[in-house]
Symmetry: C2
Subunit: 139 residues, 2 copies
């Protein structure tokens, strides 16, 4: 038995790829356009960690998602949590839970999927602007 | 960068562990009871595939989850999709999308998290009772 992927739906594929790849740092591993079904699947993974993937499902006809609490978040370990948060913030992404402790942060995808970032190894020393940045919204 | 886990919330920890472990086949890898926060975290993974985990969050005070479409499903590859579906069905789990094609099935966790099962390698030959079993509900 083997974990393959977590699937999340997206309403704007370009905006989502910008978020998941350019800002979060995942890489596109495969893309399948299914004209008959009017959907596109894109498989993403962390660089060097191909086996655990996120599948983006883009239905060409817009959907309303709502919000439910039974799905929590996707979690990724990162080499430098400050660098990833800076890249996300620079890209216009709100850092809902800034890494004040040099260890943990939360952001949300364009479709409100919560994403947890965890510093690999020991927490980094506290560092501005993160150390004094308040939480924003929920995640 | 490395995938760590997908977190899903559960409203009944025993019922959920019965589903995810006894019926689906995952193994418990760690459990953390946080009395001050009134929650329990349980980390699960497929046997022999420890690095990609599911985190169950059980808040001791019951929550209403609702349902949203932005989270899709968790997917697992299995060695024998008929055996896993039989174990699930025997345990009282509805096979929402039976493996009529010997390749793919969907079930739902007690908290309505969709779980996709995919046959490793080639599809198995069609086989009753699955081949003629209709879909039930959605997933």
């Amino acid at each position: 038995m083997k974990y393959l992927h977590t699937m999340v739906r997206v309403n704007d594929l370009e905006e989502s790829l910008d978020f998941y790849c350019n800002k979060l740092g995942l890489e596109e591993k495969g893309r399948f356009e299914v004209k008959e079904g009017r959907f596109t699947l894109v498989f993403l993974s962390a660089p060097g960690d191909d086996s655990a993937q996120v599948e983006l499902t883009y239905n060409w006809d817009r959907e309303e998602f709502g919000e439910a609490r039974n799905f929590g978040h996707l979690a990724y370990e990162v080499e430098d949590i400050y660098a990833v948060c800076e890249r996300l913030r620079h890209g216009g992404v709100t850092i809902n839970r800034p890494p004040r402790d040099g260890r943990m942060a939360f952001v949300r995808s364009p479709d409100n999927i919560s994403i947890e970032l965890l510093q690999a190894g020991k927490a980094l020393p506290p560092c501005e602007p993160w150390a004094s940045m308040p939480n924003t919204g929920h995640w």
